[in-house]
């Protein structure tokens, strides 16, 4: 009983850590990117300062807004938090990770996105509708690719539960699986598209020709905007943690001891920091692409995921001798 309680407590703490660390990751990416572009980087804590500033300001709600506009930030944030509680960060086999699998995770992303899109259209401005329609286009193409990548993992691990899948990868040790390489590449492309980074979307600008996420949250201010931004940062971290913990789960805690958790924290920090460097590098190297080319990009992600699935079936098939 005490063990159970400890495990639940740890799961809650882990989720809080997840939510608390998300702005830090965003700040780190920004810092690396500034360095690469020879600009003077802001402090690592700048995202926290921005959130605090937004929190203090009075939120202004446009006149034609309905209740959807008001509850959307809470739903978006809550779905991000729920998703964060499912994804193993420091340890596997926590109680929250056992109750929901990866398909639920995709569903939670979809829930948050639905309300984001509804809020974008709620005001009736041209920008909001444009951003919403673009977001839906992109997500309808990105979701199959993500699910396919996830199914590749599930076929290898014989489970859709994230925690058990990570356990499986940990148990089998280092193996050069072609299917995992393809699935990881596919998931990385999907992550870039879904979190609105360059080359699909540029979160740092307000250029009406290309913006997607910004267009949807354009009418938000104060606390609401803070929640939206924070949810976006959590989503970015979610994808990062998914990539590093599914495909390279080494270091993650198997048992619940302080030493193992400390190792897990150090490992996941290091891995995320490195992944962020890769992301920042790709953002510095590639230009934002035209909106109409995004479908090509996402079909490439889907192709990678399908190839992952195929190479799981073809190349990793158990070899039967006659």
């Amino acid at each position: 009983m005490a063990d159970q309680l400890m495990a639940w407590l740890l799961a809650v703490l882990e989720t809080l850590l997840f939510i608390g660390a998300a702005p830090l990751l965003a700040g780190w990416i920004k810092r690396v990117k500034c360095r690469l572009q020879n600009r003077k980087p802001p402090s690592l804590l700048q995202p926290y300062r921005d959130l605090r500033k937004l929190w203090r300001k009075q939120p202004i709600v446009p006149h034609p807004a309905s209740w959807i506009f008001r509850i959307a930030p809470y739903v978006v944030f809550a779905s991000a938090v729920l998703a964060a509680s499912i994804v193993p960060l420091l340890a596997v086999n926590l109680p929250t990770e056992r109750i929901a699998d990866v398909i639920v995770l995709v569903g939670l992303f979809a829930l948050g996105r639905t309300f984001l899109v509804l809020a974008g259209m709620d005001i009736g401005t041209a920008f909001g509708g444009m951003g919403s329609s673009r977001e839906m286009t992109i997500s309808s193409l990105a979701e199959p690719a993500m699910l396919m990548a996830v199914f590749t993992l599930a076929m290898s691990a014989h489970t859709t539960n994230l925690s058990q899948a990570m356990d499986y990868v940990l148990d089998t040790g280092l193996a050069l699986r072609p299917s995992f390489v393809f699935a990881m590449l596919g998931l990385m492309l999907v992550a870039v598209a879904e979190t609105g980074r360059i080359p699909v979307d540029n979160p740092a600008t307000h250029l009406e020709l290309t913006m997607i996420h910004e267009a949807m949250v354009l009418e938000y201010s104060g606390r609401y905007l803070g929640l939206m931004e924070w949810a976006a940062q959590i989503k970015l971290m979610l994808y990062g943690v998914l990539i590093v913990n599914i495909f390279l789960p080494w270091g993650i805690a198997n048992e619940l001891s302080w030493a193992a958790l400390a190792v897990g924290l150090a490992a996941v920090t290091l891995k995320l920091a490195l992944l962020a460097v890769v992301l920042a590098l790709s953002e510095a190297l590639f230009a934002k692409m035209r909106v109409f080319r995004v479908q090509e990009y996402l079909s490439f992600a889907y192709l990678l995921s399908v190839l992952g699935m195929l190479s799981h079936i073809i190349l990793e098939a158990p070899h039967v001798h006659h």
């Binding site: 089998t172 040790g173 193996a175 050069l176 699986r177 072609p178 299917s179 390489v181 393809f182 090509e296 079909s299 490439f300 192709l303 990678l304 399908v306 190839l307 195929l310 190479s311 079936i313 073809i314 190349l315 990793e316 098939a317 158990p318 070899h319 039967v320 001798h321 006659h322």
Partner: protein, 226 residues
Amino acid sequence: MSITDLDYYQQAVLLLAGLIGLTSFLMLGQSRLVRLVWIFGLQGLLLAATTALVAAVLDSPHLYISALLTFCLKGIVIPNLLNRQIVRLGLHREMDTIEHPARIMMGGAALMVFSYYVSLPVIAQSQLVTLNAVAVSLAVVLLGMLLMITRRQAMAHVVGFMSIENGLFFAAVVSTYGMPMVVELGIAFDVLVAAVIFGVFFLHIRSSIDSLDVDRLSRLSEAEEK
């Protein structure tokens, strides 16, 4: 025996096989000729790396020679030849339009599944662990054919033809410890000569129809087009 029971060399061979399959798909979707040739060169390099690895796995030293040969010919010489021709014929800025890219990709995936089913009985007959890659090599052959079918540019046809040869070579490497050295040398130089002859053909096609678009070859005409 699943992939986790194999040693790292064999896993690496399978991984490289997967990457070779990927390059075939990339070629199928690439409309710029220069990049098409570049990806073809990449496939040659991956093929050379796979051959070297298979040589290490199967402990057959003559495969190192054919790896070196592949590296030089398919990785460096032929892509360079083709690229020079592209630049000389002024095709390096032209885009080869691909009609229905999504359908072609789906067709490619279907071909890969098909080649898996075709090669299943072959795989079941053998003791060789790298044999799972036979399906990929057959897929590379079929994807090369698909590339030739779906393109208009004669240059893309040549790249498709060469990648068919890559697939055959790959099949030989993973399934039968490589071909005899004489055969291998013969094929390597055949391909090299083919690359040169294609260059002559390009000049002829171009001088007769003023383009390398083979769709314009569908009509027979002795007289000057008016």
